[in-house]
């Protein structure tokens, strides 16, 4: 099935730039490494629930950082693909003569 494609390569490149900015925001300006976990097993008390909170707190914050890093990676990848697509479209436009309608 033939499909008409409407493409503006400049806008695709702009979108790629914004994606890069978003990726940088997800990743953070500094290193994604988190500070040293300040709590120890009994820091919040000796009860089971206090120990559960300590263990979970350490993991969840690390996992939140994983989320940001993964998002940053995916979006950087998106930006690259958009630029590749824009470049390919530009090449196609110059190679194919415009047909009068």
């Amino acid at each position: 099935m033939a499909v008409d494609l409407a493409v503006d390569t400049d806008l695709l490149r702009q979108a790629a730039d914004v994606l890069d900015e978003a990726s940088a925001l997800f990743h953070g300006r500094a290193s994604p490494e988190v500070a040293v976990f300040p709590l120890t097993d009994a820091s919040l008390g000796n009860s089971a629930v206090a120990r559960e909170v300590v263990a979970a707190a350490g993991r969840r914050v690390a996992q939140a950082i994983e989320s940001t890093v993964l998002l940053a990676t995916l979006i950087t990848d998106d930006a690259g693909k958009l630029r590749s697509a824009a470049a390919a479209f530009a090449t196609a436009e110059t190679a194919v003569p415009v047909q009068p309608r």
Binding site: S23, R51, A64
Partner: protein, 572 residues
């Protein structure tokens, strides 16, 4: 602690002790020692992450109009929208956790202030009652006929501090619930299912036609998984060894290899990645060693390593896969966002297993039988487990939690591993005949604190009762060369005992109550009697019984770190 200093605290403590009530000073100290600043500091880090997620998602929204105007194909817009939604969902999870931590921090901080106030008020009340500071409070109260008001003050203090402790616990429970949500869930689902949508559009646009989103669940090069490539070298080497052993002309070697292959197939059929983490061939001197991980170890949040008890061997390890899958499923049910890998670890020579990978003969049976009566195999296995755990740690994410769980003699083995310094977050001893001679109490584990040593011993399970140790000693001494004096704890202390210091899990057996006769019969039937005792306890001393019902759920709670859900009772 208080303006009156140590003297006041000590006086109140002594009075509480003589009144037989909980020491309010101990409660006060616990509440004052809570590290609220640490909690605040950590969650301020989480708050910064939430801001990053918000700002990133906000910036992604700016992409939409550019793509709408720049490309008629909707797939790229949908892909970016999915990513923005995932970021927003992740931020919401983190935001809820930060809010809950703020709330809990406020409660804990307020509690500290209130505790200080309660201690000052109690001091004032005691002085107001006529107590001259510096004198023994209780003796003075008795001598001066002022016991009643003093009792009222001290018991009232204990009561109010207990209420504050309960208030803290409730707030911590709220925070624990909030922390059971995984901020990665939506992002990882996106990576697995939808990340390539933009890529498809980009490649599809080049003359192939309109590109749509990839089918749900389709694999993606951008998978969130740390990838099996990290592990492939080790896993592949083990698989290669297995392939060679399957062609071996040595019966023991080939039988073990077949057993491991069957177990691998069974593990793979469980709907998860199956990895052969350890493989050492059976020989005439060994039943061989194998460990199969269910779930990608390099991406795991929780890694539970299960050691089986006597009567097992790698040749029959397909049976252990059933247990591992049951625990994996229970852990997933408890904590769907977490990735839990369960490793069936058949890494030590298990007494009464299939001897050396081949059917038993009378001599090997007697040799194996005697090894039931002491913890030598378990100690040796514990060393091997500690080494294997070190290797597993190198493959696993840095943040992964490690739990070792052992059933019966397997519990003696994992206990021995912990005694040898295995780095574990939690230790689970199930149906334990003893914690090995390497330990007397939990204090002998160099890494694992007593609060993280969980013991499940059904009262109906005779193997966990001390009479089993006595029987083992008597029978063991008769079968092998006699030592000068009998050792009444040949497998080490009962970890369910109160003196041991572990957490005795309060769960009921799912099996029927079985009556067991532990009487010692004629010499010629001793071996049979002992073997029957160990093999015929179908009712309660069964791995499947401990990995089912309440016991399985409690074990899954340990594996996922949901400590507040583990019912605990006093030791025996």
């Amino acid at each position: 602690m208080t303006p009156a200093g140590i003297g006041l605290d000590r006086s109140i403590s002594l009075a509480a002790q003589r009144l037989g009530i909980e020491d309010p000073i101990v409660i006060a100290q616990e509440l004052l020692d809570v590290d609220v600043d640490g909690l605040d500091q950590w969650f301020s880090e989480a708050a910064r992450i939430a801001v990053r997620l918000f700002q990133g998602a906000d910036r992604l929204a700016e992409v939409d109009p550019l793509l709408a105007a720049g490309w008629s194909n909707p797939a790229p817009r949908l892909a970016v929208t999915d990513q923005r939604d995932a970021a927003t969902a992740s931020r919401q999870v983190v935001g809820v956790q930060v809010d809950a931590a703020d709330q809990t921090g406020s409660v804990l901080r307020q509690t500290r202030t209130l505790v200080d106030g309660e201690l000052i008020d109690a001091q004032a009340a005691l002085i107001g009652a006529g107590w001259p500071p510096g004198q023994d409070l209780f003796s003075w109260a008795v001598d001066s006929g002022r016991l009643e008001p003093i009792v009222t003050i001290v018991t009232g203090l204990t009561g109010r501090l207990t209420e504050l402790r309960i208030r803290n616990e409730r707030s911590l429970a709220d925070l624990a619930m909030a922390l059971r949500a995984d901020p990665r869930d939506r992002v990882e689902a996106l990576a697995v299912g939808g990340a390539a949508a933009l890529g498809s559009a980009a490649t599809g646009a080049m003359g192939v036609g309109p590109a749509g989103p990839r089918p749900p669940g389709a694999a993606s090069a951008g998978s969130a998984s740390a990838g099996s490539g990290h592990l492939n070298g080790v896993d592949q080497t083990n698989l290669d060894r297995l392939a060679i052993d399957l062609q071996s002309t040595d019966l023991a070697t080939q039988l073990m290899a077949r057993g491991v292959q069957a177990a691998l197939h069974k593990a793979a059929a469980s709907g998860d990645v199956a990895q052969l983490l350890v493989y050492e061939s059976a020989t005439s001197a060994s039943q061989g060693r194998a460990a199969i991980g269910i779930g990608e170890i390099s991406a795991a949040d929780n890694i539970a390593v299960l050691a089986p008890g006597i009567g097992n061997a790698p040749v029959t390890m397909a049976d252990g896969i059933v247990t591992a899958v049951a625990l994996r499923d229970a852990a997933h049910q408890r904590s769907p966002g977490d990735k839990t890998t369960v490793v069936a670890w058949y890494g030590y020579d298990m007494p009464l297993g299939v001897i050396n990978g081949i059917p038993e003969n009378p001599i090997s049976t007697i040799e194996s039988l005697t090894s039931v009566f002491d913890d030598a195999k378990a100690q040796e296995g514990g060393q091997r487990l500690a080494t294997d755990l070190e290797q597993f740690r190198q493959w696993a994410p840095d943040t992964a939690r490690f739990i070792a769980a052992g059933f019966s003699m397997g519990s003696t083995t994992v206990s021995a591993a912990a005694a040898r310094g295995a780095k574990l977050d939690d230790l689970i001893l199930m149906a334990s005949p003893g914690a090995s001679d390497l330990v007397e109490t939990v204090a002998d584990y160099p890494v694992v604190p007593g609060e993280h040593v969980f013991v499940t011993s059904f009262d109906e399970d005779p193997i966990t009762l001390s009479v089993s140790d006595v029987t083992a000693t008597v029978l063991g001494n008769l079968i092998r060369p006699l030592p000068s004096l009998p050792d009444f704890s040949p497998l080490g202390p009962d970890p369910a005992g109160n003196d041991f210091g572990g957490q005795l899990v309060d769960v009921l057996s799912s099996g029927p109550d079985v009556s067991v006769d532990l009487g010692v019969g004629p010499f010629g039937s001793l071996a049979d009697a002992m073997t029957n005792e160990l093999l015929d306890l179908q009712g309660n001393h069964q791995e499947s019984n401990y990995y089912s019902g309440q016991s399985l759920d409690a074990t899954a709670a340990v594996v996922t770190g949901q400590y507040a859900d583990i019912p605990i009772k006093p030791g025996r």
